[in-house]
């Protein structure tokens, strides 16, 4: 039996057939561990019988080692079945809000597999990898052009790593400028959780800007946070704002807010997780951003999730250029080289051993070059269009807490469904039953029972319509009052609704014999 916890309510409701012990359903398999499969008395290989000796291992005879004995077909099935458990954008619709799960064009993969890119080593002499350095240099320039922030460091290995690099850059700037009194970073309550975490990791205190009224940072709420401890905001080192924010809304007052922040001597870190809504349309540098990370694995279509790997370059304004991490790729005449250690004295230093996720750099540049400036503009336009289509089709069935139009993602809550005892969790689980990955649930925290839907520009109208029809069906089912099914989905998966509380309170993190 599996270690997973059943929902107790489920058990007595299922008929005997449904309660059949193993969880194999509809050619979906519940795959046990090899340890649970194998038997010590059924060896996986046939060895010829011994001639003239009693033991193959001579003096060093081994007793019962206890390894599972499985045959080759059993092993094949085991790993092939495991491989099918990985839901990805290549298998189906994946509208995870604030994650930009878009299609990864195969052209990117083809480029990344070119021998000259795939078979090089980061410690090769730079004269032998000029082409690779040119890719990185060109990518730096594309990102600088798209963000309006002229200095780019490609090293960070993920979005959160980019955040860390950005805030370390701000910290270094204040350190060099002697601003030791600046120890507060302002973060809106709608921020990604990584924002305040990053600020605290860099030794800052965080102060929350409330966005509860409109879903946006208002000038009043910003001022309240900025001047909370000091009438001139002298204690504020910077702010971390996502634009568009996690409610899918563009921060309309961003220019005025940024001016106030700059007057107080703070720097503006922009979380670039939602850059897919802006790319090619506006340049964050133009609304006063000092440093911003870019998720290549979101906006620029490199693989995402399950260890992608991610890549989170930072783009930096001239105000912070001297302090950003090293190395960057430099061009001298016609030759490319990596910045030397200590070449920029006030740099906050290296983030990791080498130069970042080079394979992702190739993919991102391939994406940019194949789309061109006009194509990238259309990317954000279509992403925003798709999200607004969903918002317009579902806003009568699901409560949309903030007035549209939205940007690249739309936010709903379970307010209407709660009246029928159906929650966001039930809606998400029902989507699984109907073959779709759920949207982001219970985030952002500024509304109760959030459902954040980001369809991205790569989904067809057919895919959007199917999602809309399933969502409408769920809303209708909830209204009918017959909600038992909604409470129990998914049912066609090897295991049905799990007891998540029990799983979190009593996690079983490893297999034990006989447990």
């Amino acid at each position: 039996m599996s270690n997973l916890a059943y929902n107790d309510n489920m058990d007595h409701m299922m008929s005997d057939a449904e309660n059949f012990e193993d969880g194999n359903r509809g050619l979906h398999y519940e795959e046990n561990l090899l340890w649970e499969k194998g038997h010590s008395d059924t060896p996986g290989v046939d060895l010829p019988s011994l001639k003239g000796t009693k033991s193959r291992t001579g003096q060093s005879e081994r007793k019962n080692v206890g390894l599972p004995q499985v045959s080759e077909p059993q092993v094949m099935r085991h790993f092939v079945r495991l491989s099918t458990k990985n839901y990805s954008i290549d298998s189906g619709f994946f509208p995870l809000g604030s994650c930009t799960m878009k299609h990864n064009p195969r052209l990117n993969e083809k480029m990344a597999r070119l021998k000259g890119f795939a078979s090089i080593h980061p410690m090769q002499p730079t004269q032998t990898v000029q082409g690779a350095l040119k890719v990185m240099y060109d990518l730096q320039n594309w990102l600088a052009e798209l963000t309006g922030l002229p200095a780019v460091c490609l090293t960070p290995a993920a979005g959160a790593h980019g955040e860390l690099a950005g805030i370390m850059t701000i910290r270094k700037a204040h350190e060099v400028q002697g601003n030791t009194h600046k120890d507060v970073i302002l973060v809106p309550d709608s921020a990604h959780g990584t924002n305040p975490a990053t600020a605290v990791m860099c030794g800052f205190k965080t102060r929350t800007i409330s966005t509860k009224e409109t879903g946006r940072v208002s000038v009043e709420a910003f001022k309240e946070a900025l001047y909370k401890q000091d009438p001139e905001g002298k204690d504020v080192a910077g702010m971390m704002v996502t634009n568009p924010n996690t409610c899918g809304l563009f921060e309309r007052d961003i220019q005025e807010i940024t001016d106030l922040l700059h007057d107080a001597g703070g720097y503006f870190y922009c979380d670039g997780a939602n850059f897919n809504a802006l790319v090619g349309k506006i340049r964050p540098g133009d609304f006063g951003v000092d440093v911003m990370h870019i998720n290549l694995h979101k906006t620029f279509s490199t693989p995402h999730g399950g260890g992608g790997p991610g890549s989170g370059p930072i783009c930096v304004a001239p105000s912070l250029q001297d302090y950003m991490p090293s190395p960057v790729v430099l061009k001298e005449g016609t030759a490319y080289r990596l910045e030397e250690e200590g070449e920029r004295e006030t740099s906050c230093g290296r983030l990791r051993g080498f130069q970042g996720q080079f394979g992702m750099h190739v993919r991102a540049l391939s994406y940019m070059m194949s789309h061109g400036a006009d194509g990238l503009k259309q990317v954000s336009e279509d992403a925003v269009l798709n999200a607004n289509y969903i918002l317009s089709q579902l806003k009568d069935d699901y409560h949309a807490p903030f007035e549209g139009p939205c940007m690249h993602e739309c936010l709903f809550t379970d307010k209407y469904q709660k009246e029928y005892d159906v929650t966001t969790l039930d809606i998400a689980k029902t989507l699984i039953e109907y073959g779709m990955h759920p949207m982001t649930v219970y985030f952002p925290l500024v509304v109760s029972g959030a459902m954040l839907v980001e369809p991205t520009e790569t989904e067809s109208k057919d895919a959007l319509d199917r999602f809309i029809s399933v969502m409408k069906m769920i809303a209708k089912k909830a209204r009918s009052g017959d909600v038992t099914e909604l409470h129990n989905y998914p049912k066609s998966t090897p295991r049905h609704r799990l007891d998540e509380v029990k799983a979190a309170r009593e996690p079983k993190l490893r297999w034990k014999k006989g447990a």
Binding site: V441, F443, S448, A504, R505
Partner: protein
């Protein structure tokens, strides 16, 4: 009970002499859903008004708990970590910390039971 106050972050505060017992309200408890973890602070920690001092984690989210008063933590309810169901508006068992209040004026402006109930009513 007149010596119990409430914040708009859904904490309750029971005042006994110069000590504030702080917990979370039934509304907060309900909004969080099933709890899975509570991170408690240490005795002796100095808190500033508005600072977060504990984190409560549910299957939905992790949420901070804020102190409405400045002061030193004089006691922590270690019992709660293993009895998460007690974390509610239970003035005897549901308190998270006891804080020695440095500025009694911090308590001004906090809501009483009837204004808190009205406040909650106004939320969705």
């Amino acid at each position: 009970m007149s010596n119990v106050k409430y914040t708009d972050d859904h904490e309750w505060i029971k005042i006994e002499d110069d000590t504030a017992w702080i917990g979370i309200t039934t509304y907060a408890r309900h909004a969080l859903g099933d709890l899975v973890f509570l991170e408690l602070p240490e005795v002796g920690r100095q808190l500033n008004k508005g600072e977060d001092f504990a984190v409560v984690e549910s299957v939905k989210a992790a949420s901070e708990i804020y102190t409405p008063v400045t002061g030193e933590i004089v006691a922590v309810n270690d019992n709660l970590a293993d009895n998460l169901d007690d974390l509610k508006e239970d003035l005897d068992k549901g308190w998270i910390v006891k804080v020695k209040v440095s500025n009694p004026e911090d308590l001004e402006g906090l809501m009483d039971k009837s204004s808190y109930d009205a406040f909650v009513e106004g939320l969705d």
